[in-house]
């Protein structure tokens, strides 16, 4: 008897901790995870630290020092109203992050629910929901955003809602496909045999299995959402001045493109670097959350 138990213990692998801990370890070893994660961390730090780390007040106007090139005093120079660009960029990071997160949360919450119900709710629910999705997808993206903003009026919040609405169909489609693929899996059948209700299977059994894919998808749509919101601000339909949102800063700066390049370069580079970082981070996430990799 003792022999049997000993043998059985050997059939287990080494205790490896939770899936989450393992994914984190793999993420820290991943090269683009390190770079992208670094950028994301800096962004988050700037957003959370707030005014205390800013060398100047991002909103205070100083006409004497207007359009100063980058120097030791003003790292990124000053804009046409003499505001310190470095402070404005740091301060603007909170808007960027907030736009990315809020609009993605809106898109994911509604999109995932729609996709789950479409994939698991029977023929009619599927038909109805997917036709709504098709309608959303049939609009040119920017036109859809403009339509939502037109209905709700231009502000930072409506920009986020608009971008969220624009992102919904992608989530709905992706998760519907995943649900259809998982619906006939043996573990779902086993859950049914054990008396799990339909909703419990959808939200309790299938959803946890497709969440890694959702996290990966989100890591790619957050930067897209930020770009879209920046575009809306650029059109004057998103963040309103004097909010130092990067897209809005870009619009204000474009008149000085020939005379003071840094006014354009600062928000442009900020957007570029943070999008690049988030994309790298998303790549790394995709690698470490791949279900096949997880079981290693």
């Amino acid at each position: 008897m003792t022999d049997m138990i000993l043998e059985e213990q050997q059939t287990f692998g080494k205790p490896t901790g939770s899936n989450f801990a393992r994914a984190m370890r793999r993420l820290l070893r991943h090269r683009s995870g390190q770079v992208g994660g670094g950028v994301v961390l800096v962004l988050v730090f700037c957003a959370l630290a707030g005014e205390s780390i800013l060398p100047y007040d991002p909103l205070s106007i100083d006409p004497i020092n207007r359009l100063k090139p980058p120097s030791a005093e003003h790292f990124f120079g000053t804009d046409e109203l003499g505001r310190d660009l470095f402070s404005r960029i740091l301060y603007g990071s909170r808007y960027t992050l907030m736009i990315g997160l809020v609009s993605t949360v809106i898109a994911a919450t509604f999109g995932i629910t729609m996709g789950l119900l479409a994939g698991g709710g029977g023929k009619w629910a599927d038909m109805l929901i997917m036709r709504v999705v098709d309608v959303l997808l049939a609009f040119p993206y920017i036109l859809l955003l403009l339509a939502v903003v037109a209905i709700l009026g231009p502000s930072l919040w409506t920009a986020m809602i608009a971008v969220g609405v624009g992102g919904m169909p992608g989530y709905a489609r992706l998760i519907r496909g995943e649900v259809l693929a998982q619906k006939d899996a043996e573990y779902v059948e086993a859950m049914r045999a054990l008396g799990a209700s339909h909703l419990r299977i959808l939200f309790g059994t299938i959803l946890p299995n497709v969440l890694p894919q959702m996290v990966i998808y989100a890591s790619f749509t957050i930067p897209l959402a930020i770009l879209a919101a920046a575009a809306l601000s650029f059109l004057g339909l998103g963040a309103q001045p004097p909010i130092p949102e990067w897209g809005a800063m870009l619009v204000d700066a474009r008149t000085f493109l020939r005379t003071a390049w840094w006014v354009v370069a600062a928000p442009g580079m900020a957007i570029f670097v943070s999008i690049l970082g988030m994309n790298l981070f998303g790549n790394a996430l995709r690698d470490v959350l791949d279900p096949k990799e997880m079981s290693k």
Partner: protein, 326 residues
């Protein structure tokens, strides 16, 4: 004694593009309290579909088109969704062939048990956890407290089947349907799992419906055996009679095709031919084209009229040769 689970004239058909496939066509089965019923048959004989039908788990395009299923006197076929989810897992439970893929890959095995417990019983998280750990202990998972948070992919096949058994028996069901529970496992592990199933079912007084194509497993575990062929039960009897005095030519063929340990035959005796395609069933007796008895006795009726299930001393059998002899 009234039967706990009673299936009468069950007909489960699948609508396909090539016509209606009668996967299960007039099956009668009775499961008494605490007994072990073996269902044997070749692949495609309809034994798994019968098992799934008992819990109404057959998916589109399959449909139960006729017959009745009664659990404890209640009609399963007329139950609504709520009654069904209460029946499944709680009163009648099921385990499957591939244990590792039947466990949810992203939820720890412990949580899979506690969730089931909390869904069907009104107990606290802590009680559920304790019950789950003692269940894991009772199915022979070593170090159950640590293994509570393990995931399916960290288990071997045998361990996963033990966990599946723990989940299936968590609510102390009165019937456990095991669909080829040992097919995917090593021979040595098979013996352990069979022993475990036998012990636990005896302990809890759970009736076991064992679906398998392995006559060895049946001989080991079952009290009564139903032999299925092409969607019908062709013979049903207690296990001793089945092995000592098989009546139906198909059962005889099955038994003689089993290798005998220690004796090397030149060739194993096989039943000639294959199971008929469901879309192309012989009109009368479904076994007739492959039946040695029919050929040696030169019987015509086998190809003209389907035989009825005939009561014998210990059970029942569906064959013209027996009916003619008696």
């Amino acid at each position: 004694m009234t039967a706990l689970l009673e299936i009468e004239n069950l007909q489960t058909h699948f609508k396909t593009e090539g016509g209606v496939v009668r996967a299960v066509d007039g099956v009668d089965l009775k499961v008494n309290e605490g007994e072990v019923l073996g269902i044997v048959g070749e692949s495609g004989s309809g034994k798994t579909v019968t098992a799934l039908s008992a819990l109404r788990l057959v998916d589109e395009p399959g449909k139960i088109v006729g017959g009745s299923i009664r659990y404890d006197g209640r009609d399963v076929l007329s139950m609504n969704k709520k009654e069904l989810t209460q029946l499944r897992g709680d009163r009648i439970s099921m385990i499957f062939q591939q244990p590792r893929v039947c466990l949810n890959p992203v939820i720890s095995i412990g949580r899979q048990i506690t969730e089931l417990l909390k869904q069907h019983r009104d107990i606290s998280s802590k009680e559920a956890r304790n019950t789950a750990i003692s269940l894991l202990n009772s199915v022979g998972i070593p170090d159950a407290e640590k293994r509570f948070s393990a995931y399916a992919h960290e288990l071997s096949g045998g361990q996963a089947q033990r966990v599946m058994i723990a989940i299936a028996l968590a609510l102390k069901p009165r019937v456990l349907i095991a669909d080829e529970p040992t097919t995917a496992l090593d021979v040595t592990i098979q013996a352990q799992i069979i022993e475990l199933l036998r012990e636990l079912c005896r302990e809890m007084g759970t009736a076991l419906v064992l679906v398998t194509h392995d006559l060895g497993v049946v001989a080991e575990l079952a009290d009564r055996v139903a032999v299925m062929y092409a969607g019908q039960v062709v013979e049903e009897t207690d296990v001793e009679t089945l092995f000592s005095n098989p009546q139906h030519p198909y059962t005889q063929g099955l038994l003689s095709s089993m290798p005998v340990l220690g004796q090397r035959a030149e060739r194993l005796t096989a039943i000639p031919g294959t199971v008929p395609k469901p879309s192309d069933m012989p009109p009368a007796c479904r076994f007739a084209p492959r039946c040695k008895t029919r050929i040696s006795l030169g019987m015509d009726i086998c190809n003209q009229e389907p035989p009825q299930l005939l009561r014998t001393a210990k059970g029942s059998v569906r064959c013209w040769a027996i009916e003619g002899a008696s």
